[in-house]
């Protein structure tokens, strides 16, 4: 807790004592007193001072251990806790991690063909990878903090859901429409917030996310309100249904029908959509518009002085991010077959934002890894339900201490020397200052 490095035993004890005191105050009500409704509805409570004492003692002992560890490691800055060897190892792995991960992902349906649970989980993870990559355009590249990203996810999902159920349009027609509509809403959000930055922008986008959700809940005639939209058609393999019927894909190929076919198809569909997002982002970063997004994140005044139209730059960032959110939403609708406002709460926005921030803003691989860790981690710790959030909070704090720029804070440059030019000696020797 203390800023200056503790040296003697008294200092360590003092820190531990302060921490124990904080723990006592925190836990005295949370753990020390247990309340419950009695048989006839009256409030009953009993004390658990034993548990409280053991918790406080654990904090006290833990503080001493942490302080000792800190002294043992030496008075290094927090960032140096990861030794350089590990750092360079990480960067080495980083070079081969992305291709290896992609190949593995492509093979997931083959390896886990019989395990429906893993396939479903993989689809969920990929959905969040795509959402993360989409939000990355807005938050990571353009530096516009968007707390209402789920709104575009919802617009995409409802666009497909309503168009498909009301007009019977196919998924492949609705997918681009969902993207366009979400992009349109992105521009609509963009206009009022053009002058805002940082905290103020975050508040307005947060409100925007809620507005969309509330409109969906209350516009009963169109959206079905809290009942949602059900019976959303499943996607077809470019017009060929993936079902047990005579003209289904399985029958046409002459293979035995299995419901897993559709899951595998959905898996490759979301993988393709996610890779499209990734490819588009990587391409855009190398174009003037992508560079302008990043420059906008760095310094808006300098951007204007360099002749960048900050208005259109911001709006395109919002629109592009929203479009990918819309695609993901359409996919979500066709996968679930049922959508309701409950799927588009602020918690979703926060989760996607956490994925982007933890992954390293602007890093594509980082976002993918952190989506895997977050969503996969959620599932992994499902059996430890009580401690799941605890583990999660711990992991986030540790990442923020060790890698404050996210898992992958490295940013690959997009401009290189066009020719490999040797620096002539007369240029080099002039380097002073």
């Amino acid at each position: 807790m203390t800023a200056k490095p503790a040296i003697g035993i008294p200092a360590i004890l003092k820190t531990a004592f302060v921490n124990a005191l904080v723990a006592l105050v925190l836990f005295s009500l949370m753990v020390g007193i247990r309340t419950e409704a009695g048989a006839s509805g009256q409030l009953t409570y009993w004390t658990r001072f034993g548990d409280l004492a053991s918790l406080v003692a654990a904090v006290f002992g833990g503080s001493i251990v942490i302080e000792l560890l800190r002294q043992w490691i030496g008075p290094t800055g927090a960032e140096k806790l990861v030794p350089p060897a590990v750092q360079s190892g990480i960067s080495f792995i980083g070079r081969y991690l992305a291709p290896a991960l992609l190949i593995f992902t492509l093979l997931v349906p083959v390896i886990f063909y019989d395990q429906r649970y893993i396939l479903d989980l993989a689809i969920l993870v990929l959905t969040y990878v795509m959402l993360g990559w989409g939000l990355n355009v807005v938050v990571g590249l353009a530096g516009l903090l968007d707390l209402g990203y789920v709104a575009f996810y919802a617009v995409g999902a409802y666009s497909y859901g309503l168009l498909a159920t009301n007009f019977g349009w196919s998924f492949w027609i609705c997918l681009p429409l969902a993207g366009i509509l979400a992009a349109f809403w992105g521009v609509l959000l963009g206009f009022p917030v053009l002058r805002l930055r940082g905290d103020y922008l975050a508040i307005v986008t947060l409100a925007f996310g809620e507005i969309i959700r509330l409109v969906i809940i209350n516009w009963q005639d169109l959206t079905g309100g809290p009942n949602g939209v059900s019976g959303i058609p499943r996607p077809s393999f470019f017009g060929i249904p993936l079902d047990n019927s005579d003209d289904g894909l399985a029958a046409r190929l002459g293979i035995e029908y299995s419901p897993t076919h559709r899951i595998v198809f959905l898996f490759y569909l979301i993988l393709a959509l996610a890779l499209l997002t990734n490819w588009a982002t990587i391409r855009l970063r190398r174009l003037p518009i992508g560079r302008a997004w990043e420059a906008l994140r760095e310094d808006e005044v300098a951007c204007r002085a360099l002749g960048i139209n900050t208005t259109t730059t911001k709006l395109t960032a919002f629109a592009t991010g929203a479009m990918f959110g819309g695609f993901a939403g359409a996919f979500f609708a066709t996968r679930q077959g049922f959508i309701s406002p409950e799927s588009f709460t602020f918690q979703e926005s926060a989760l996607v934002l956490a994925i982007v921030v933890l992954g390293g803003m602007g890093s594509q691989l980082g976002v993918a890894l952190s989506a895997l860790a977050m969503i996969g981690g959620f599932e992994l710790f499902r059996s430890l339900e009580t401690y799941r959030m605890l583990v999660f909070g711990m992991a986030m704090v540790l990442i923020m201490i060790w890698r404050p720029r996210g898992l992958i804070g490295h940013r690959a440059p997009t401009v290189y020397l066009t020719k490999a030019q040797a620096i002539s000696s007369d240029l080099v020797k002039e380097g002073h200052g």
Binding site: P288, R291, A292, E294, A295, R297, E298, D299, V301, A302, C303, R304, A305, L306, G307, I308, N309, T310, R411, P413, T414, V415, Y416, L417, T418, I423, L427, V428, E430, G431, H432, G433
Partner: protein
């Protein structure tokens, strides 16, 4: 470098304000093609505001800004760079997380030039500031102050301007580095015919460099003349040179 018949940039009766605080109270400045013009004055005199007003932020409340005879007073900020006016803003404002290469490319992006032109300009910037070539792949934020200033000027040059506006290029730099920067500006002016408006507190350096100078006090131009003339004026010496011990 013969002066053009009409000035490249003519500012007439320019007024600008931040809210109720009037920062420019009717400023007249003329810059001929091929000239270096220095604008000196104390903190808060309105020098930077004048430079920003040329770029439309803040907008002029009254008066005119004529560039190549065209009124650009109402032209949107982002379009002014397309008229081949470039700016190295106060405090340098390089993009810290982007590489030197990307910073330079940002200068070329908005104005649109051919690949060959871009390459030629890039080589020109490297000749002027070899340091930037050495630091090509480094992030802008990791450069020293002097290197950042070189980058800011280089970035402005990448848009291939006719008129370069420099806001306090020597701010916070060691005298030796400041001299390098001023040397580069002189070279640009002599060899490339670039017209330069330089805002400086370092009056001695700026006036030695400039063909002509203006002195600004409280949003008004109080003195004008050639650089050498202004350097000899006792009131200039008293206000900006002897007291400040610049250069």
């Amino acid at each position: 470098m013969t002066p053009a018949p009409s000035p490249l940039l003519a500012i007439r009766g320019l007024r600008a304000a931040y809210g109720k605080i009037e920062a420019l109270k009717g400023v007249d400045v003329e810059i001929n093609a091929g000239e270096i013009v220095a604008l000196i004055g104390a903190n808060g005199a309105g020098k930077s505001t004048l430079m920003m007003t040329i770029f439309g932020k803040p907008r002029a409340r009254a008066g005119q800004i004529l560039y190549e005879g065209r009124d650009i007073t109402e032209v949107p900020t982002h379009e002014i760079a397309h008229l081949r006016i470039a700016q190295s803003p106060e405090g340098r404002r390089v993009f810290p997380r982007m590489s030197v290469a990307e910073n330079l490319q940002m200068g070329a992006d908005a104005t649109g030039c051919t690949e060959a032109e871009r390459e030629a300009t890039l080589q020109r910037v490297f000749t002027l500031f070899p340091r930037l070539k050495e630091r090509y792949a480094q992030r802008g934020g990791t450069l020293s102050g002097g290197e950042q200033q070189m980058l800011a000027i280089g970035r402005a040059l990448m848009s291939r301007p006719r008129l370069l506006l420099l806001d306090e290029p020597s701010l916070g730099l060691a005298p030796l580095i400041a001299r390098q920067i001023f040397d580069a500006i002189r070279t640009l002016n002599r060899q490339d015919g670039l017209t330069v408006l330089i805002v400086e507190q370092n009056a001695n350096h700026a006036l030695k460099l400039a063909h002509r100078g203006y002195v600004m006090v409280n949003g008004l131009i109080t003195l004008a003349g050639t650089g050498a003339e202004l350097l000899q004026r006792p009131e200039i010496r008293a206000a900006y040179l002897e007291g400040g011990r610049h250069g």
